[in-house]
Point group: C2
Chain length 320, copies 2
Protein backbone atom coordinates (compact mmCIF):
# COMPACT_ATOMS: atom_id res chain seq x y z
CA UNK A 1 0.00 0.00 0.00
CA UNK A 2 1.06 3.55 -0.75
CA UNK A 3 1.10 6.06 2.10
CA UNK A 4 1.38 9.83 1.84
CA UNK A 5 2.01 12.06 4.85
CA UNK A 6 1.26 15.72 4.17
CA UNK A 7 2.94 17.58 6.97
CA UNK A 8 5.51 14.79 7.14
CA UNK A 9 8.15 17.26 8.31
CA UNK A 10 6.20 18.34 11.38
CA UNK A 11 6.53 16.90 14.85
CA UNK A 12 3.74 14.35 14.53
CA UNK A 13 4.43 13.67 10.84
CA UNK A 14 8.05 12.82 11.58
CA UNK A 15 7.14 10.53 14.48
CA UNK A 16 4.45 8.88 12.37
CA UNK A 17 6.86 8.36 9.46
CA UNK A 18 9.46 6.80 11.73
CA UNK A 19 6.83 4.60 13.41
CA UNK A 20 5.57 3.38 10.00
CA UNK A 21 9.18 2.77 8.97
CA UNK A 22 9.62 0.50 11.99
CA UNK A 23 6.25 -1.29 11.50
CA UNK A 24 6.37 -1.65 7.73
CA UNK A 25 2.59 -2.14 7.60
CA UNK A 26 -0.81 -0.70 8.42
CA UNK A 27 -3.59 -3.06 9.39
CA UNK A 28 -1.58 -6.07 8.25
CA UNK A 29 -1.00 -4.68 4.74
CA UNK A 30 2.66 -4.06 3.86
CA UNK A 31 3.58 -0.51 2.92
CA UNK A 32 5.11 -0.42 -0.57
CA UNK A 33 5.99 3.27 -0.69
CA UNK A 34 5.76 6.30 1.57
CA UNK A 35 5.84 9.93 0.43
CA UNK A 36 6.60 12.64 2.97
CA UNK A 37 5.53 16.13 1.92
CA UNK A 38 6.00 19.41 3.74
CA UNK A 39 7.10 23.01 3.24
CA UNK A 40 10.36 21.95 4.92
CA UNK A 41 12.45 18.91 3.96
CA UNK A 42 11.14 15.99 6.01
CA UNK A 43 13.59 13.65 7.78
CA UNK A 44 13.76 10.24 6.09
CA UNK A 45 13.22 7.26 8.38
CA UNK A 46 14.78 3.81 8.10
CA UNK A 47 12.17 1.67 6.41
CA UNK A 48 11.76 -1.64 4.55
CA UNK A 49 10.12 0.29 1.67
CA UNK A 50 11.14 3.29 -0.45
CA UNK A 51 10.53 6.70 1.11
CA UNK A 52 10.42 9.86 -1.01
CA UNK A 53 10.29 13.44 0.20
CA UNK A 54 8.50 16.32 -1.47
CA UNK A 55 8.46 20.08 -0.99
CA UNK A 56 4.80 21.02 -0.96
CA UNK A 57 2.76 24.16 -0.39
CA UNK A 58 -0.81 22.88 0.08
CA UNK A 59 -2.24 26.20 -1.09
CA UNK A 60 -0.88 25.23 -4.54
CA UNK A 61 -3.68 23.05 -5.92
CA UNK A 62 -1.67 21.78 -8.87
CA UNK A 63 1.17 20.75 -6.56
CA UNK A 64 -1.21 18.84 -4.30
CA UNK A 65 -2.77 17.12 -7.34
CA UNK A 66 0.74 16.24 -8.50
CA UNK A 67 1.73 14.73 -5.17
CA UNK A 68 -1.32 12.45 -5.18
CA UNK A 69 -1.22 11.67 -8.90
CA UNK A 70 0.51 8.32 -8.51
CA UNK A 71 -2.20 7.14 -6.16
CA UNK A 72 -2.44 6.50 -2.45
CA UNK A 73 -4.15 4.03 -0.17
CA UNK A 74 -3.73 6.09 3.00
CA UNK A 75 -3.29 9.86 3.01
CA UNK A 76 -2.38 11.58 6.25
CA UNK A 77 -3.19 15.31 6.15
CA UNK A 78 -1.43 16.78 9.18
CA UNK A 79 -0.38 20.13 7.70
CA UNK A 80 -1.65 23.21 9.54
CA UNK A 81 -0.98 26.73 10.70
CA UNK A 82 -1.12 26.45 14.49
CA UNK A 83 -3.48 28.36 16.75
CA UNK A 84 -1.35 31.33 17.78
CA UNK A 85 -0.15 31.94 14.24
CA UNK A 86 -3.63 31.54 12.70
CA UNK A 87 -4.84 34.11 15.21
CA UNK A 88 -2.02 36.51 14.26
CA UNK A 89 -2.12 35.82 10.51
CA UNK A 90 -5.77 35.22 9.64
CA UNK A 91 -5.35 35.01 5.87
CA UNK A 92 -2.53 32.50 6.11
CA UNK A 93 -4.53 30.33 8.49
CA UNK A 94 -7.56 30.37 6.19
CA UNK A 95 -5.40 29.59 3.15
CA UNK A 96 -3.64 26.62 4.74
CA UNK A 97 -6.10 25.23 7.27
CA UNK A 98 -9.25 25.46 5.13
CA UNK A 99 -8.37 26.12 1.48
CA UNK A 100 -5.29 23.88 1.64
CA UNK A 101 -7.39 21.13 3.21
CA UNK A 102 -9.93 21.48 0.40
CA UNK A 103 -7.06 21.08 -2.09
CA UNK A 104 -6.09 17.84 -0.36
CA UNK A 105 -9.70 16.64 -0.25
CA UNK A 106 -10.21 17.43 -3.94
CA UNK A 107 -6.98 15.67 -4.96
CA UNK A 108 -8.00 12.59 -2.96
CA UNK A 109 -11.44 12.69 -4.59
CA UNK A 110 -9.87 12.99 -8.05
CA UNK A 111 -8.13 9.63 -7.56
CA UNK A 112 -11.50 7.90 -7.79
CA UNK A 113 -10.22 5.09 -5.57
CA UNK A 114 -11.74 6.17 -2.21
CA UNK A 115 -8.43 6.31 -0.33
CA UNK A 116 -8.39 6.52 3.44
CA UNK A 117 -7.74 10.11 4.51
CA UNK A 118 -6.70 10.76 8.11
CA UNK A 119 -7.07 14.43 9.06
CA UNK A 120 -5.87 15.99 12.28
CA UNK A 121 -8.45 18.35 13.68
CA UNK A 122 -8.20 19.70 17.21
CA UNK A 123 -10.08 20.06 20.47
CA UNK A 124 -9.83 23.78 19.65
CA UNK A 125 -13.04 23.27 17.64
CA UNK A 126 -14.72 23.39 21.06
CA UNK A 127 -14.90 26.36 23.37
CA UNK A 128 -16.96 29.09 24.95
CA UNK A 129 -20.64 28.67 25.69
CA UNK A 130 -21.15 24.92 25.41
CA UNK A 131 -21.76 22.54 28.32
CA UNK A 132 -19.03 20.26 29.69
CA UNK A 133 -18.20 17.45 29.56
CA UNK A 134 -17.96 17.58 25.77
CA UNK A 135 -19.90 14.65 24.31
CA UNK A 136 -19.56 13.31 20.77
CA UNK A 137 -22.76 15.18 19.86
CA UNK A 138 -21.80 18.53 21.47
CA UNK A 139 -21.72 21.49 19.07
CA UNK A 140 -18.42 22.73 17.76
CA UNK A 141 -17.99 26.28 19.05
CA UNK A 142 -14.43 27.36 18.22
CA UNK A 143 -13.09 30.50 19.88
CA UNK A 144 -10.02 30.79 17.65
CA UNK A 145 -9.63 31.12 13.90
CA UNK A 146 -7.55 27.92 13.97
CA UNK A 147 -10.45 26.06 15.57
CA UNK A 148 -12.99 27.59 13.18
CA UNK A 149 -10.92 26.63 10.13
CA UNK A 150 -10.49 23.08 11.41
CA UNK A 151 -14.22 22.89 12.15
CA UNK A 152 -15.12 24.02 8.63
CA UNK A 153 -12.76 21.41 7.16
CA UNK A 154 -14.37 18.76 9.39
CA UNK A 155 -17.80 19.49 7.91
CA UNK A 156 -16.41 18.89 4.44
CA UNK A 157 -14.46 15.78 5.45
CA UNK A 158 -17.60 14.03 6.67
CA UNK A 159 -19.48 15.07 3.54
CA UNK A 160 -16.76 13.94 1.11
CA UNK A 161 -16.77 10.63 3.02
CA UNK A 162 -20.57 10.31 2.93
CA UNK A 163 -20.39 10.78 -0.83
CA UNK A 164 -17.66 8.15 -1.19
CA UNK A 165 -15.10 10.65 -2.54
CA UNK A 166 -12.66 9.32 0.06
CA UNK A 167 -12.82 7.45 3.35
CA UNK A 168 -12.15 10.20 5.89
CA UNK A 169 -11.23 10.00 9.54
CA UNK A 170 -10.95 13.30 11.40
CA UNK A 171 -9.25 13.14 14.79
CA UNK A 172 -9.71 16.03 17.20
CA UNK A 173 -6.38 16.04 18.95
CA UNK A 174 -6.08 16.99 22.59
CA UNK A 175 -3.10 19.20 23.27
CA UNK A 176 -0.01 17.11 22.66
CA UNK A 177 2.32 17.10 25.64
CA UNK A 178 5.21 16.77 25.95
CA UNK A 179 6.13 17.93 22.45
CA UNK A 180 9.85 17.65 21.66
CA UNK A 181 11.85 20.41 20.04
CA UNK A 182 11.43 24.13 20.38
CA UNK A 183 8.50 26.30 21.48
CA UNK A 184 6.22 27.11 18.51
CA UNK A 185 3.53 29.72 17.81
CA UNK A 186 0.71 27.60 19.20
CA UNK A 187 -0.96 29.28 22.17
CA UNK A 188 -0.62 25.87 23.82
CA UNK A 189 3.15 25.84 23.39
CA UNK A 190 3.73 26.36 27.13
CA UNK A 191 1.85 23.14 27.89
CA UNK A 192 4.91 21.29 26.66
CA UNK A 193 7.67 23.82 27.26
CA UNK A 194 7.16 24.12 31.02
CA UNK A 195 8.07 20.43 31.24
CA UNK A 196 10.43 20.00 28.28
CA UNK A 197 12.74 22.91 29.03
CA UNK A 198 13.14 22.10 32.74
CA UNK A 199 13.69 18.39 31.98
CA UNK A 200 16.48 19.52 29.63
CA UNK A 201 17.95 21.83 32.29
CA UNK A 202 16.53 25.14 31.05
CA UNK A 203 14.03 27.49 32.60
CA UNK A 204 10.54 27.99 31.11
CA UNK A 205 7.72 30.47 31.54
CA UNK A 206 4.17 29.50 32.45
CA UNK A 207 1.57 32.09 31.32
CA UNK A 208 -1.37 30.61 33.27
CA UNK A 209 -1.92 29.62 36.91
CA UNK A 210 -1.45 26.17 38.45
CA UNK A 211 -5.22 25.59 38.54
CA UNK A 212 -5.44 25.69 34.72
CA UNK A 213 -7.34 22.58 33.63
CA UNK A 214 -6.81 21.08 30.20
CA UNK A 215 -6.85 17.83 28.24
CA UNK A 216 -3.61 16.20 27.01
CA UNK A 217 -2.25 13.30 24.99
CA UNK A 218 1.38 12.20 24.66
CA UNK A 219 3.07 12.19 21.24
CA UNK A 220 3.64 8.43 21.58
CA UNK A 221 -0.06 7.63 22.10
CA UNK A 222 -1.06 10.20 19.47
CA UNK A 223 1.04 8.44 16.83
CA UNK A 224 -0.48 5.10 17.86
CA UNK A 225 -3.89 6.71 17.33
CA UNK A 226 -2.93 8.05 13.90
CA UNK A 227 -2.13 4.48 12.87
CA UNK A 228 -5.32 3.11 14.45
CA UNK A 229 -7.21 5.78 12.49
CA UNK A 230 -6.06 4.19 9.23
CA UNK A 231 -7.00 0.71 10.47
CA UNK A 232 -10.55 1.26 11.80
CA UNK A 233 -13.29 -0.09 9.53
CA UNK A 234 -15.29 2.60 7.75
CA UNK A 235 -18.56 1.00 8.82
CA UNK A 236 -17.64 1.45 12.49
CA UNK A 237 -17.17 5.21 12.12
CA UNK A 238 -20.78 6.18 11.51
CA UNK A 239 -21.94 9.33 9.72
CA UNK A 240 -19.77 11.86 11.47
CA UNK A 241 -16.20 11.02 10.57
CA UNK A 242 -14.73 13.48 13.10
CA UNK A 243 -14.47 12.85 16.82
CA UNK A 244 -12.40 13.76 19.85
CA UNK A 245 -9.44 11.49 20.55
CA UNK A 246 -9.26 10.30 24.13
CA UNK A 247 -6.97 12.37 26.30
CA UNK A 248 -6.62 12.93 30.03
CA UNK A 249 -7.68 16.11 31.80
CA UNK A 250 -5.25 17.44 34.41
CA UNK A 251 -4.73 20.49 36.59
CA UNK A 252 -1.41 22.11 35.68
CA UNK A 253 -0.19 21.96 39.28
CA UNK A 254 -0.82 18.20 39.35
CA UNK A 255 1.18 17.80 36.13
CA UNK A 256 4.08 19.62 37.76
CA UNK A 257 3.86 17.22 40.72
CA UNK A 258 3.86 14.27 38.27
CA UNK A 259 7.12 15.65 36.83
CA UNK A 260 8.51 15.90 40.38
CA UNK A 261 7.62 12.25 41.06
CA UNK A 262 9.33 11.05 37.87
CA UNK A 263 12.28 13.47 37.60
CA UNK A 264 12.84 14.98 41.06
CA UNK A 265 12.74 18.54 42.39
CA UNK A 266 15.28 20.21 40.11
CA UNK A 267 13.14 20.60 36.94
CA UNK A 268 10.19 21.95 38.94
CA UNK A 269 12.43 24.75 40.22
CA UNK A 270 13.04 25.92 36.65
CA UNK A 271 9.40 26.89 35.98
CA UNK A 272 8.79 30.65 36.11
CA UNK A 273 5.12 31.54 36.68
CA UNK A 274 4.51 34.66 34.62
CA UNK A 275 0.87 35.43 33.69
CA UNK A 276 0.36 36.44 30.02
CA UNK A 277 -3.05 37.88 29.18
CA UNK A 278 -2.80 37.34 25.40
CA UNK A 279 -2.12 33.62 25.85
CA UNK A 280 -4.82 33.37 28.52
CA UNK A 281 -7.33 35.00 26.17
CA UNK A 282 -6.92 32.07 23.81
CA UNK A 283 -6.42 29.07 26.08
CA UNK A 284 -9.04 29.96 28.68
CA UNK A 285 -11.65 29.67 25.90
CA UNK A 286 -10.80 26.03 25.31
CA UNK A 287 -12.72 23.21 26.90
CA UNK A 288 -11.10 20.80 29.37
CA UNK A 289 -13.56 18.00 30.13
CA UNK A 290 -14.39 15.42 27.46
CA UNK A 291 -16.27 12.16 27.23
CA UNK A 292 -14.61 10.61 24.15
CA UNK A 293 -17.02 7.67 24.05
CA UNK A 294 -16.87 7.10 20.30
CA UNK A 295 -13.06 7.08 20.13
CA UNK A 296 -12.76 4.72 23.10
CA UNK A 297 -15.34 2.36 21.57
CA UNK A 298 -13.33 2.39 18.33
CA UNK A 299 -10.18 1.34 20.23
CA UNK A 300 -8.25 4.60 20.34
CA UNK A 301 -5.80 4.90 23.24
CA UNK A 302 -4.63 7.41 25.85
CA UNK A 303 -2.04 7.77 28.57
CA UNK A 304 -2.65 6.26 32.00
CA UNK A 305 -1.38 9.33 33.89
CA UNK A 306 0.81 12.38 33.25
CA UNK A 307 3.75 10.38 34.61
CA UNK A 308 3.40 8.46 31.31
CA UNK A 309 3.82 11.71 29.37
CA UNK A 310 6.95 12.57 31.36
CA UNK A 311 8.44 9.09 30.95
CA UNK A 312 7.68 8.90 27.23
CA UNK A 313 9.47 12.22 26.77
CA UNK A 314 12.52 10.97 28.66
CA UNK A 315 12.52 7.74 26.62
CA UNK A 316 11.70 9.14 23.16
CA UNK A 317 12.66 12.76 22.88
CA UNK A 318 14.89 14.38 25.49
CA UNK A 319 17.84 16.38 24.10
CA UNK A 320 20.75 17.01 26.44
Amino acid sequence: MRVIIIGGGGMLGRKLAFALGRRGEIGGRAISHMALADIVDPAIPEAPFPVTTHRLDITDKAAVDGLLAEGADVIYHLAAIVSGQAEAEFDLGLAINLMGSINVFEAARALGTTPKLVFTSSNAVYGGEIPEPIEDWTALNPQTSYGAQKAAAEMLLSDYSRRGFFDGRGLRLPTISIRPGKPNKAASSFMSSIFREPLQGDEAFCPVGSDYLHCYLSPRRCVENLIIAAEVEAEALGQNRCFALPGRTYRLGDMVEAMRRVAGDAPVGLIRWQPDRSIQNIVLGWKARFNPAKALALGFVRDDSFEDNIRFFLEDDIER
Copy 2:
Protein backbone atom coordinates in the same frame (compact mmCIF):
# COMPACT_ATOMS: atom_id res chain seq x y z
CA MET B 1 -28.45 53.13 6.05
CA ARG B 2 -27.40 51.14 3.01
CA VAL B 3 -28.80 47.63 2.58
CA ILE B 4 -27.60 44.95 0.17
CA ILE B 5 -29.55 41.77 -0.48
CA ILE B 6 -27.47 39.09 -2.20
CA GLY B 7 -29.98 36.61 -3.51
CA GLY B 8 -32.45 39.49 -3.82
CA GLY B 9 -34.13 37.75 -6.76
CA GLY B 10 -34.95 34.60 -4.84
CA MET B 11 -38.21 33.88 -3.06
CA LEU B 12 -37.12 35.14 0.35
CA GLY B 13 -34.96 37.93 -1.08
CA ARG B 14 -37.88 39.31 -3.07
CA LYS B 15 -40.25 39.17 -0.10
CA LEU B 16 -37.61 40.79 2.11
CA ALA B 17 -36.96 43.56 -0.44
CA PHE B 18 -40.68 44.32 -0.71
CA ALA B 19 -41.09 44.26 3.09
CA LEU B 20 -38.17 46.69 3.50
CA GLY B 21 -39.67 48.87 0.77
CA ARG B 22 -42.91 49.07 2.78
CA ARG B 23 -41.13 49.67 6.13
CA GLY B 24 -38.46 52.08 4.91
CA GLU B 25 -36.33 51.37 7.97
CA ILE B 26 -34.53 48.74 10.00
CA GLY B 27 -34.35 49.14 13.77
CA GLY B 28 -35.60 52.71 13.52
CA ARG B 29 -32.87 53.77 11.09
CA ALA B 30 -34.14 54.93 7.70
CA ILE B 31 -32.87 53.01 4.68
CA SER B 32 -31.10 55.36 2.25
CA HIS B 33 -30.39 52.86 -0.50
CA MET B 34 -31.02 49.20 -1.23
CA ALA B 35 -29.10 47.06 -3.72
CA LEU B 36 -30.62 43.79 -4.91
CA ALA B 37 -28.12 41.35 -6.43
CA ASP B 38 -28.75 37.96 -7.97
CA ILE B 39 -27.92 35.82 -10.99
CA VAL B 40 -31.40 36.70 -12.23
CA ASP B 41 -32.83 40.23 -12.44
CA PRO B 42 -34.52 40.93 -9.12
CA ALA B 43 -37.99 42.52 -9.03
CA ILE B 44 -37.86 46.13 -7.84
CA PRO B 45 -40.19 46.99 -4.96
CA GLU B 46 -41.97 50.29 -4.32
CA ALA B 47 -39.83 52.07 -1.74
CA PRO B 48 -39.20 55.53 -0.25
CA PHE B 49 -35.50 55.14 -1.11
CA PRO B 50 -33.56 54.31 -4.29
CA VAL B 51 -33.32 50.63 -5.21
CA THR B 52 -30.70 49.33 -7.63
CA THR B 53 -30.43 45.86 -9.10
CA HIS B 54 -27.23 44.02 -9.95
CA ARG B 55 -26.44 40.85 -11.86
CA LEU B 56 -24.03 38.96 -9.62
CA ASP B 57 -22.31 35.59 -9.64
CA ILE B 58 -20.98 35.20 -6.09
CA THR B 59 -18.24 32.84 -7.27
CA ASP B 60 -16.73 35.93 -8.96
CA LYS B 61 -14.74 37.51 -6.12
CA ALA B 62 -14.08 40.77 -7.97
CA ALA B 63 -17.79 41.15 -8.71
CA VAL B 64 -18.70 40.63 -5.06
CA ASP B 65 -16.03 43.14 -4.00
CA GLY B 66 -17.46 45.58 -6.56
CA LEU B 67 -21.02 45.18 -5.30
CA LEU B 68 -19.94 46.01 -1.74
CA ALA B 69 -17.43 48.69 -2.68
CA GLU B 70 -19.77 51.61 -1.98
CA GLY B 71 -20.33 50.38 1.54
CA ALA B 72 -23.18 48.72 3.41
CA ASP B 73 -24.66 48.82 6.86
CA VAL B 74 -26.65 45.61 6.50
CA ILE B 75 -25.75 42.83 4.08
CA TYR B 76 -28.19 39.98 3.57
CA HIS B 77 -26.51 36.92 2.08
CA LEU B 78 -29.35 34.65 0.99
CA ALA B 79 -27.81 33.21 -2.19
CA ALA B 80 -27.52 29.42 -2.30
CA ILE B 81 -27.68 26.27 -4.36
CA VAL B 82 -30.53 24.33 -2.77
CA SER B 83 -30.28 20.86 -1.27
CA GLY B 84 -31.37 18.67 -4.15
CA GLN B 85 -29.21 20.53 -6.65
CA ALA B 86 -26.15 20.63 -4.35
CA GLU B 87 -26.53 16.86 -3.98
CA ALA B 88 -26.72 16.41 -7.77
CA GLU B 89 -24.04 19.01 -8.63
CA PHE B 90 -21.46 18.82 -5.86
CA ASP B 91 -18.93 21.20 -7.39
CA LEU B 92 -21.53 23.88 -8.04
CA GLY B 93 -22.83 23.61 -4.47
CA LEU B 94 -19.33 23.93 -3.03
CA ALA B 95 -18.54 26.88 -5.29
CA ILE B 96 -21.69 28.83 -4.40
CA ASN B 97 -22.57 27.73 -0.88
CA LEU B 98 -19.06 27.77 0.60
CA MET B 99 -16.64 29.57 -1.71
CA GLY B 100 -19.23 32.16 -2.72
CA SER B 101 -20.04 32.76 0.93
CA ILE B 102 -16.36 33.27 1.66
CA ASN B 103 -16.26 35.85 -1.14
CA VAL B 104 -19.14 37.69 0.54
CA PHE B 105 -17.49 37.42 3.96
CA GLU B 106 -14.17 38.72 2.61
CA ALA B 107 -15.83 41.64 0.81
CA ALA B 108 -17.69 42.59 3.99
CA ARG B 109 -14.43 42.35 5.95
CA ALA B 110 -12.64 44.53 3.39
CA LEU B 111 -15.06 47.39 4.12
CA GLY B 112 -13.46 47.80 7.53
CA THR B 113 -16.75 49.12 8.94
CA THR B 114 -18.06 45.95 10.64
CA PRO B 115 -21.36 45.82 8.75
CA LYS B 116 -24.15 43.57 9.93
CA LEU B 117 -24.23 40.42 7.81
CA VAL B 118 -27.33 38.24 7.94
CA PHE B 119 -26.71 34.76 6.50
CA THR B 120 -29.35 32.14 5.86
CA SER B 121 -28.16 28.74 6.98
CA SER B 122 -30.55 25.81 7.28
CA ASN B 123 -31.81 23.14 9.64
CA ALA B 124 -30.19 20.82 7.08
CA VAL B 125 -26.97 21.32 9.09
CA TYR B 126 -28.51 18.79 11.48
CA GLY B 127 -29.23 15.18 10.77
CA GLY B 128 -28.39 11.56 11.35
CA GLU B 129 -26.92 10.32 14.61
CA ILE B 130 -27.60 13.20 16.99
CA PRO B 131 -30.17 13.22 19.80
CA GLU B 132 -33.49 15.06 19.50
CA PRO B 133 -34.75 17.57 20.39
CA ILE B 134 -31.99 19.64 18.82
CA GLU B 135 -30.67 22.12 21.40
CA ASP B 136 -28.62 25.22 20.65
CA TRP B 137 -25.48 23.29 21.66
CA THR B 138 -26.22 20.12 19.66
CA ALA B 139 -23.55 19.19 17.11
CA LEU B 140 -24.09 19.99 13.46
CA ASN B 141 -24.21 16.68 11.62
CA PRO B 142 -25.32 17.41 8.05
CA GLN B 143 -26.38 14.49 5.88
CA THR B 144 -26.40 16.45 2.62
CA SER B 145 -23.69 18.41 0.82
CA TYR B 146 -25.94 21.48 1.06
CA GLY B 147 -26.04 21.13 4.85
CA ALA B 148 -22.28 20.49 5.07
CA GLN B 149 -21.49 23.57 2.96
CA LYS B 150 -23.82 25.72 5.07
CA ALA B 151 -22.26 24.30 8.25
CA ALA B 152 -18.74 25.10 7.06
CA ALA B 153 -19.81 28.66 6.22
CA GLU B 154 -21.38 28.97 9.68
CA MET B 155 -18.05 28.17 11.34
CA LEU B 156 -16.42 31.00 9.41
CA LEU B 157 -19.29 33.43 10.02
CA SER B 158 -18.92 33.13 13.79
CA ASP B 159 -15.15 33.49 13.54
CA TYR B 160 -15.25 36.55 11.26
CA SER B 161 -17.71 38.05 13.78
CA ARG B 162 -15.54 37.16 16.79
CA ARG B 163 -12.65 38.95 15.08
CA GLY B 164 -14.79 42.02 14.37
CA PHE B 165 -14.49 41.64 10.57
CA PHE B 166 -18.28 41.97 10.38
CA ASP B 167 -21.23 41.53 12.70
CA GLY B 168 -22.67 38.21 11.57
CA ARG B 169 -26.02 36.62 12.27
CA GLY B 170 -26.57 33.13 10.88
CA LEU B 171 -30.15 31.89 10.88
CA ARG B 172 -30.80 28.18 10.47
CA LEU B 173 -34.06 28.23 8.56
CA PRO B 174 -36.67 25.57 9.10
CA THR B 175 -38.24 24.41 5.85
CA ILE B 176 -40.21 27.33 4.47
CA SER B 177 -43.81 26.39 3.77
CA ILE B 178 -45.84 27.37 1.90
CA ARG B 179 -43.36 28.73 -0.66
CA PRO B 180 -45.03 30.55 -3.57
CA GLY B 181 -44.12 29.96 -7.20
CA LYS B 182 -42.97 26.77 -8.82
CA PRO B 183 -41.42 23.57 -7.44
CA ASN B 184 -37.61 23.88 -7.22
CA LYS B 185 -34.72 21.43 -6.91
CA ALA B 186 -34.78 21.41 -3.11
CA ALA B 187 -35.53 17.96 -1.76
CA SER B 188 -38.03 19.75 0.46
CA SER B 189 -39.91 21.19 -2.50
CA PHE B 190 -42.90 18.89 -1.93
CA MET B 191 -43.37 20.35 1.57
CA SER B 192 -44.80 23.42 -0.14
CA SER B 193 -46.07 22.01 -3.42
CA ILE B 194 -48.50 19.52 -1.89
CA PHE B 195 -50.35 22.53 -0.42
CA ARG B 196 -49.63 25.24 -2.99
CA GLU B 197 -50.62 23.31 -6.09
CA PRO B 198 -53.93 22.00 -4.65
CA LEU B 199 -54.80 25.45 -3.24
CA GLN B 200 -54.31 26.75 -6.79
CA GLY B 201 -56.45 23.97 -8.24
CA ASP B 202 -53.68 21.66 -9.47
CA GLU B 203 -52.66 18.21 -8.36
CA ALA B 204 -49.37 17.57 -6.55
CA PHE B 205 -47.28 14.53 -5.68
CA CYS B 206 -46.19 13.66 -2.15
CA PRO B 207 -43.04 11.47 -2.04
CA VAL B 208 -43.26 10.60 1.68
CA GLY B 209 -45.97 9.17 3.93
CA SER B 210 -48.47 11.11 6.04
CA ASP B 211 -46.52 10.33 9.23
CA TYR B 212 -43.49 12.30 8.00
CA LEU B 213 -42.52 14.73 10.78
CA HIS B 214 -40.72 17.95 10.01
CA CYS B 215 -40.22 21.54 11.18
CA TYR B 216 -41.69 24.49 9.21
CA LEU B 217 -41.84 28.27 9.11
CA SER B 218 -44.05 30.44 6.89
CA PRO B 219 -42.45 32.87 4.41
CA ARG B 220 -44.19 35.77 6.20
CA ARG B 221 -42.68 34.93 9.61
CA CYS B 222 -39.35 34.11 8.00
CA VAL B 223 -39.11 37.58 6.48
CA GLU B 224 -40.02 39.11 9.85
CA ASN B 225 -37.16 37.10 11.32
CA LEU B 226 -34.72 38.28 8.66
CA ILE B 227 -35.50 41.86 9.68
CA ILE B 228 -35.27 41.05 13.40
CA ALA B 229 -31.88 39.48 12.64
CA ALA B 230 -30.57 42.87 11.51
CA GLU B 231 -32.02 44.57 14.60
CA VAL B 232 -30.81 42.31 17.42
CA GLU B 233 -27.93 43.75 19.44
CA ALA B 234 -24.59 42.04 18.81
CA GLU B 235 -24.00 41.67 22.55
CA ALA B 236 -27.15 39.57 22.90
CA LEU B 237 -25.99 37.03 20.31
CA GLY B 238 -23.14 35.48 22.29
CA GLN B 239 -20.16 33.71 20.78
CA ASN B 240 -21.95 31.47 18.33
CA ARG B 241 -23.61 33.72 15.79
CA CYS B 242 -25.58 30.87 14.21
CA PHE B 243 -28.73 29.36 15.69
CA ALA B 244 -31.94 27.62 14.68
CA LEU B 245 -34.88 29.90 13.97
CA PRO B 246 -38.07 28.88 15.76
CA GLY B 247 -40.39 26.79 13.65
CA ARG B 248 -43.22 24.38 14.38
CA THR B 249 -42.97 20.62 14.02
CA TYR B 250 -45.91 18.91 12.36
CA ARG B 251 -46.91 15.50 11.04
CA LEU B 252 -47.66 15.80 7.31
CA GLY B 253 -51.12 14.30 7.75
CA ASP B 254 -51.96 16.96 10.35
CA MET B 255 -50.84 19.69 7.93
CA VAL B 256 -53.19 18.28 5.31
CA GLU B 257 -56.03 18.41 7.86
CA ALA B 258 -55.10 22.05 8.63
CA MET B 259 -55.48 22.80 4.92
CA ARG B 260 -58.89 21.08 4.97
CA ARG B 261 -60.01 23.23 7.92
CA VAL B 262 -58.97 26.46 6.18
CA ALA B 263 -59.72 25.67 2.53
CA GLY B 264 -62.19 22.77 2.49
CA ASP B 265 -62.05 19.26 1.04
CA ALA B 266 -61.29 20.04 -2.61
CA PRO B 267 -57.55 20.83 -2.32
CA VAL B 268 -56.91 17.75 -0.17
CA GLY B 269 -58.31 15.59 -2.95
CA LEU B 270 -55.63 16.86 -5.33
CA ILE B 271 -52.70 15.35 -3.36
CA ARG B 272 -51.27 12.19 -4.96
CA TRP B 273 -49.30 10.04 -2.51
CA GLN B 274 -46.43 8.59 -4.54
CA PRO B 275 -43.37 7.37 -2.55
CA ASP B 276 -40.01 8.48 -4.02
CA ARG B 277 -36.97 6.76 -2.57
CA SER B 278 -34.42 9.36 -3.77
CA ILE B 279 -36.30 12.20 -2.03
CA GLN B 280 -36.81 10.06 1.06
CA ASN B 281 -33.07 9.32 1.21
CA ILE B 282 -32.44 13.03 1.73
CA VAL B 283 -35.35 14.23 3.82
CA LEU B 284 -35.52 11.27 6.21
CA GLY B 285 -31.99 12.22 7.34
CA TRP B 286 -33.18 15.63 8.54
CA LYS B 287 -34.15 16.30 12.12
CA ALA B 288 -37.68 17.30 13.12
CA ARG B 289 -37.69 18.27 16.80
CA PHE B 290 -36.00 21.47 17.93
CA ASN B 291 -35.75 23.54 21.08
CA PRO B 292 -34.85 26.96 19.61
CA ALA B 293 -34.30 28.54 23.03
CA LYS B 294 -31.74 31.10 21.90
CA ALA B 295 -33.82 32.40 19.00
CA LEU B 296 -36.96 32.65 21.13
CA ALA B 297 -35.05 34.53 23.85
CA LEU B 298 -33.77 36.93 21.18
CA GLY B 299 -37.34 37.67 20.06
CA PHE B 300 -37.54 35.70 16.83
CA VAL B 301 -41.06 34.62 15.85
CA ARG B 302 -42.94 31.60 14.48
CA ASP B 303 -46.38 30.61 13.29
CA ASP B 304 -49.06 29.67 15.80
CA SER B 305 -50.28 26.65 13.81
CA PHE B 306 -50.12 25.35 10.23
CA GLU B 307 -53.47 27.04 9.63
CA ASP B 308 -51.36 30.25 9.79
CA ASN B 309 -49.16 28.97 6.99
CA ILE B 310 -52.22 28.18 4.85
CA ARG B 311 -53.84 31.55 5.54
CA PHE B 312 -50.64 33.52 4.90
CA PHE B 313 -50.32 31.77 1.53
CA LEU B 314 -53.91 32.63 0.62
CA GLU B 315 -53.35 36.26 1.70
CA ASP B 316 -49.85 36.85 0.33
CA ASP B 317 -49.07 34.51 -2.52
CA ILE B 318 -51.85 32.53 -4.17
CA GLU B 319 -51.89 32.68 -8.01
CA ARG B 320 -55.15 31.81 -9.72
